[in-house]
């Protein structure tokens, strides 16, 4: 089973996770820039984060045989902080980079005027840079948030078939699908979606334009949820090709809209020691 996790925050994960993900079949990931759990207070802090998503994290992933791309944006939560919003002026410098396959995560958190502004501006940036957009839907007041999101997408220069609406569930999937967007589902241990509900949604709505992700981050989450959904689909009687469409071909098709997706994993680089990720090579036998 080959797996593409289209939304996972590897910066917050360990090398054990990379190892387990590879063993489970994960060969590609997209890491959207998002909130770090700790508020940032300046654009400089975003820039260091973007650098890490464009340099160190793909390097780390490659050590474990996983292709790593990212999406960059000012996230909705921090769009409300005037100390952070100037990062919008710097974003164009970073959206031209090879590894950037979408603008994201953008969207709504509390549905404020500042979030309206940031979302509209970044949908335009996506259109200007030939990139699709990854749009997060809010945790609170989700259906209203989805509708306002779709309204803004319709008013934007970015066609809905270049927009992935994420964190969908049973109550929001229909309207997102009717709007012509790609459909993202985050499968979490407790919240959002679980494996069985994911299978039921696929049975009802079909696999077209559906992407399943773990959205694993610094909170309680599971980077192997994509594989668990694959196993649940097999158990429910879905064939190999169906599973491959949902867990591999759909994310490849969506992020491939950027023209920047490169799925050959670079050979794992040199062994690392010292203050690095493969700290200490194994001792020699005897």
């Amino acid at each position: 089973m080959r797996i593409f996790d289209p939304h996972i925050h590897m910066t917050s994960r360990t090398t054990d996770d990379y190892e387990a993900m590879y063993a489970a079949g994960v060969r590609a990931v997209v890491e959207p820039s998002f909130w770090l759990g700790q508020p940032r207070t300046s654009p400089a802090s975003f820039i260091d984060y973007f650098d890490s998503l464009l340099g160190w994290e793909p390097f780390r992933a490659a050590q474990y045989g996983i292709a790593h791309h990212c999406t960059l944006a000012l996230n909705p939560k921090e769009a409300n902080d005037p100390r952070c919003s100037p990062v919008l002026d710097v974003l164009p410098r970073y959206l031209v980079k090879d590894n950037v396959v979408a603008v994201g995560e953008i969207g709504y958190d509390s549905m404020t005027p500042a979030e309206d502004t940031a979302l509209a501006a970044q949908l335009q940036l996506a259109a200007d840079h030939g990139l699709p957009a990854l749009v997060h839907t809010p945790h609170r007041d989700k259906l209203a948030g989805l509708r306002r999101t779709l309204d803004l997408v319709r008013e934007s220069a970015l066609p809905p078939e270049r927009v992935l609406i994420d964190h969908l569930n049973e109550t929001t999937v229909r309207e997102a699908k009717d709007a012509g967007c790609w459909l993202g589902f985050s499968v979490y241990p407790d919240t959002k979606m679980d494996e069985e509900r994911m299978v039921a949604v696929l049975e009802q709505y079909g696999p077209e334009k559906v992407l399943v992700n773990s959205a694993a981050d610094w909170g309680r989450s599971d980077p192997l949820k994509t594989r668990k959904v694959g196993d649940a689909l097999v158990k429910a009687g879905f064939g190999e090709d169906y599973v491959d469409q949902v867990l591999w071909r759909n994310p490849v098709a969506f992020y491939g809209l950027s023209g920047r997706l490169t799925l050959d994993v670079p050979q794992p680089d040199a062994t690392h020691e010292g203050n690095s990720i493969l700290r200490g090579t194994p001792k020699t036998e005897a």
Partner: protein
């Protein structure tokens, strides 16, 4: 033991001749002619598809025609070209194309630093490779030192090229060699290794201490360590066992 800094400084093994060879290193390979930037351009032209070639010509014209902006100015067109070189010409040609673009644009020190600072790992590597062609004095050393502080072997390998051989001070240069041993970057990548290592007793001491530390931990001593130690002129260590150098593949070789 021979070493080939000019050859191994190339980021890709399969595009021999598409990366220019700094004069300093090439002098150590008898019989080879240092390919000039023009030769590099001609070889790229021969290798690229028609679309990519047209794109490159346009991009080089933009780079040559640009005015060097203040570091905080708007993103200039040639910098967009610099960023997208890999997806326009193919990732295997990105380093060569970026070198040509840098050469054509001739960015000043502030712009060069910004391009490095805002670059992806691949873009930073291209800047590091271009340093011997763009900067004559030690002004760009902070970029080399930045790359040597990372643990990204692609950057470490690019940092120990001819520019570092020329300008890096003894202390930082020794640590760079040691870092290559630590991170598995082949010492073949270190430009001017033989000249700088010769009779360097402090480097020899550091290498011997590192070998002792490895041996005490029951871990093998990298083959490369013995090679560098030999270059310093210090007698070989009696430590065992030795391990084959973990030759880095692909990008940092």
């Amino acid at each position: 033991m021979t070493h080939h800094p000019t050859h191994s400084a190339h980021p890709h093994g399969n595009d021999a001749g598409l990366t220019t060879t700094p004069v300093r290193g090439r002098a150590e390979s008898p019989g080879a002619v240092p390919p000039a930037i023009a030769t590099l351009h001609a070889r790229l032209d021969a290798a690229l598809s028609g679309d990519a070639r047209a794109w490159l010509d346009q991009a080089l014209a933009e780079a040559a025609g640009h005015q060097d902006e203040a570091p905080e100015g708007p993103l200039s067109l040639w910098e967009v070209r610099f960023a997208e070189a890999g997806r326009r010409c193919g990732p295997e040609y990105a380093d060569a194309v970026r070198l040509l673009l840098l050469q054509a644009a001739g960015p000043g020190p502030a712009t060069l630093s910004r391009i490095y600072a805002q670059g992806t790992a691949a873009e930073r590597r291209a800047v590091l490779h271009a340093l011997p062609h763009l900067v004559t004095g030690p002004a760009a050393l902070p970029l080399v030192e930045d790359a040597l502080r990372t643990n990204d072997t692609r950057l470490v390998a690019a940092a120990v090229g001819p520019y570092a051989a020329e300008h890096l001070d003894a202390h930082n240069w020794r640590h760079a060699v040691l870092k290559c041993l630590f991170t598995g970057v082949s010492v073949d990548t270190v430009a001017g290794l033989a000249e700088r290592a010769r009779a360097d007793t402090e480097l020899a001491r550091m290498l011997a201490d590192y070998a002792n530390e490895r041996t005490a931990a029951g871990r093998p001593v990298p083959e490369d360590l013995h090679r560098v130690l030999c270059l310093t002129g210090r007698p070989a260590l009696s430590t065992t066992p030795s391990a084959p150098s973990t030759a880095p593949t692909g990008e940092e070789s």
